[in-house]
C-alpha cells in the first residue's frame, strides 16, 4: 500500500502542490482580499501619523523658516482662536452656501438630462458632444467671462460651481445609465412597460447607485471651483480669506484653513457614503 501511494502520479491540486494551498491565507497583504478591521484601522492611523511626523520633523529643521512651516503648536493655537472668530464661521457659511447652491442646481438639471442622454441615442447626440467640449474648458479660464457677465456678486460664484460640475455630472450620469444591462430594458418591455416606464422605473433606479457615486465625486470638485471663484473676486469665504492670510503672511492661519478644507471634504464624503449605504442596501448585497 505505501509504495502504491508513493508511486501515484499526483493529480493537479493534490500531490505536492497542495502544500501551498494548505497554508493559511496571508493576514497582512492578501491580494484584493479582506483583512481584519483593526489592522486596517491601524494602517489608517499610521498614514495620518506619517503626515504629522513629517510635518513636525520638517518644521523643526533650522533651514525651514517658521513662516513656511510654523510649529504645530502655533497652528493648533491659531486653530483654536479661529474657531472663536465670527469671520471664520461667516466664511464657512458663505462658501458652503455657494458650493451647495451651485452643486444642487447642477445636479437637479444634469441628472435628469444625463438620464435622457443615456436612454435615448438622439438625446445623447444632442447633449453629449457639446458637454464634452464644454467640460474641457478649465473653470479658472471662465472666471473673467463670468465676472463680466454677472459681476462680482453671489451669482458669479454659484455659476462657476455650476459650470464646473454640470457638464461632468451630465456625462457621468449618461454613462451610468448606459451601463445598465440591455436585458433589463428588454424584459421590462416584454412585460408591457412603456418607454416612459422603462426610463423612470428601470433605467433610473438601476443607475442610481452609480449616479450617487458621481455626485459624491463632483461635490469634491465643487469645493475646488468655489475656491477659484473666491480667490479672484470675493469679500468673504474660505478662499478669499486664504488669500488675505497670504497677503499678511499669516502662515498658521493658512494651514488652519487648509485643515478645514480637508475636514469638510472628509465629512461630506462620509455623509455621502453613509447615505449611499443606507439607500442602496440592495447594491451592497449585490457586491457580496
Amino acid at each position: 500500500m505505501p509504495s502504491l501511494v508513493r508511486d501515484a502520479v499526483p493529480i493537479a491540486g493534490r500531490g505536492p502542490q497542495s502544500r501551498q494551498s494548505a497554508q493559511p491565507p496571508p493576514r497582512w497583504f492578501p491580494v484584493r482580499g479582506e483583512v481584519e478591521a483593526r489592522r486596517s484601522r491601524a494602517f489608517a492611523l499610521l498614514g495620518a501619523s506619517l503626515l504629522v511626523v513629517s510635518y513636525l520633523w520638517l518644521s523643526h529643521r533650522e533651514w525651514v523658516t517658521s513662516a513656511l512651516l510654523p510649529p504645530l503648536s502655533s497652528v493648533l493655537q491659531t486653530g483654536w482662536q479661529t474657531l472663536q472668530e465670527a469671520d471664520f464661521w461667516l466664511d464657512l457659511k458663505v462658501s458652503f452656501w455657494r458650493v451647495t447652491a451651485g452643486f444642487l442646481g447642477a445636479a437637479l438639471l444634469a441628472v435628469p438630462l444625463g438620464i435622457l442622454a443615456g436612454s435615448f441615442r438622439l438625446c445623447s447626440a444632442l447633449l453629449e458632444p457639446v458637454s464634452e467640449f464644454l467640460r474641457y474648458i478649465p473653470v479658472p479660464a471662465l472666471v473673467p467671462l463670468v465676472l463680466i457677465l454677472l459681476g462680482i456678486d453671489e451669482g458669479a460664484k454659484v455659476s462657476l460651481v455650476f459650470l464646473g460640475t454640470f457638464f461632468q455630472l451630465l456625462l457621468m450620469t449618461a454613462d451610468e445609465v448606459r451601463q445598465v444591462p440591455l436585458t433589463l430594458v428588454q424584459v421590462s418591455q416584454s412585460m408591457g412597460a412603456t418607454r416612459l416606464e422603462v426610463v423612470t422605473r428601470v433605467l433610473t433606479p438601476a443607475a442610481l447607485p452609480g449616479i450617487s457615486h458621481a455626485l459624491r465625486i463632483c461635490n469634491g470638485w465643487a469645493w475646488s471651483y468655489v475656491v477659484v471663484a473666491e480667490l479672484l473676486a470675493a469679500t468673504e469665504g474660505l478662499g478669499f480669506r486664504i488669500l488675505r492670510f497670504y497677503r499678511f503672511i499669516q502662515t498658521p492661519n493658512i494651514y488652519v484653513y487648509l485643515l478645514v478644507f480637508g475636514l469638510i471634504g472628509l465629512g461630506l464624503d462620509g455623509l455621502f457614503r453613509f447615505l449611499h449605504a443606507r439607500v442602496f442596501r440592495w447594491a451592497k448585497a449585490g457586491r457580496a
Partner: protein
C-alpha cells in the same frame, strides 16, 4: 395558429463579411403548445427567438401572433433570459408583481375583486416556484436557480400570450437544472402558456416539449420537426429511461452530428 413565423431570413454584416444567420424559417406553434428549438451554439436559435420577441429585426419574412404582425417587444411576448434579469433594487415580491404595477396593466377602475385576484395570482405563482418564504429577499441574496424561478414567475404574472425562454437554465449546475425542468413542467401543467424554449441540451428539449425543432448551423435552417409523444404530466427522471425517449434522443443527436460534420468539412475546405 397562435404563432406563425413565415419565410424568415436574417443576415448581418460582420468583420468577415455578410453572415447568413437564418434561412427560410417556417414555424407554426399552436395554442398551449410547448416547442423547443435545439441546435449547436451559433446556429442562430437565440437570434430566431429574439426576432420572434421583437428585439431584433428580420432581414425578410414575418412573425405573426394571433394573425397580427409582431413589430416590437410587448406584453404579449414574455421573455426569460439565461442571464439574471430580476431588478436588483426590488424584493422578490416586488419583482414578481412588477407587471401589475405598469400603467398599461391597470384596470380602468380600481376593481377590488380584480386587485384581490392579482394578489392571489402573485402569491400562487410565488408558492408554485417555492419562493413565497423568500418574497422579502433581494435578488442578490438568492441562488442562481432561485433567481430564475422568480424570473419565470414574473414573466407569467404579465400573462403573455407566448413565453419565450432563451436557455433559461443554461447558467445553472446540472442538479439545479433538473429541478428547474421538473418545476417548469409543473408550472406549465397549471398555466398552459404557449412556450418557445431555446436550448442546446437535447435531453432538456425532449423532457419539456410537445415538439422539438432541430436547427442547423450557419445558416440556421430547420432540419427536423419532431413530435414528442409523452403525456404532459411526465416525470423527468422516469422519462429519461424510456426506450421511446432514447430513440428520439438518438434521432435528434443524429441530425445535429450529421450537420456539424458537414459544416466543419465545408469550413476546412473554405479555409484552404
Amino acid at each position: 395558429m397562435k404563432l406563425a413565423v413565415r419565410s424568415l431570413n436574417k443576415s448581418y454584416v460582420a468583420t468577415r463579411g455578410t453572415v447568413h444567420a437564418l434561412s427560410n424559417i417556417e414555424l407554426l406553434v399552436a395554442e398551449a403548445e410547448f416547442v423547443s428549438l435545439v441546435g449547436t451554439s451559433g446556429c442562430g436559435k437565440s437570434t430566431l427567438l429574439h426576432i420572434i420577441g421583437g428585439l431584433e429585426a428580420a432581414s425578410s419574412g414575418s412573425v405573426e401572433l394571433d394573425g397580427q404582425l409582431v413589430r416590437g417587444p410587448g406584453a404579449e411576448l414574455g421573455l426569460v433570459f439565461q442571464r439574471q434579469t430580476l431588478f436588483p433594487w426590488l424584493t422578490v415580491l416586488e419583482n414578481v408583481r412588477f407587471p401589475h404595477t405598469l400603467r398599461r396593466k391597470q384596470p380602468r377602475a380600481a376593481d377590488p375583486q380584480e386587485l384581490t385576484n392579482r394578489a392571489v395570482l402573485v402569491e400562487n405563482l410565488l408558492r408554485l416556484v417555492g419562493l413565497w418564504d423568500f418574497r422579502s429577499s433581494y435578488p442578490a441574496e438568492l441562488s442562481g436557480g432561485m433567481q430564475q424561478r422568480a424570473a419565470i414567475a414574473r414573466a407569467l404574472v404579465a400573462r403573455p400570450d407566448v413565453l419565450l425562454m432563451d436557455e433559461p437554465f443554461g447558467a445553472l449546475d446540472s442538479q439545479t437544472r433538473e429541478e428547474m425542468q421538473e418545476l417548469l413542467l409543473h408550472v406549465n401543467a397549471q398555466h398552459r402558456t404557449t412556450t418557445l424554449f431555446v436550448t442546446h441540451d437535447v435531453d432538456e428539449a425532449l423532457l419539456l416539449s410537445d415538439r422539438v425543432i432541430v436547427l442547423s448551423p450557419r445558416p440556421g435552417r430547420i432540419l427536423g420537426d419532431i413530435a414528442v409523444p409523452f403525456a404532459r404530466d411526465r416525470r423527468t427522471a422516469d422519462l429519461k429511461l424510456d426506450p421511446g425517449f432514447v430513440h428520439l434522443k438518438r434521432q435528434v443527436l443524429g441530425m445535429l452530428r450529421h450537420q456539424s460534420e458537414r459544416g466543419s468539412a465545408l469550413e476546412s475546405l473554405n479555409g484552404r
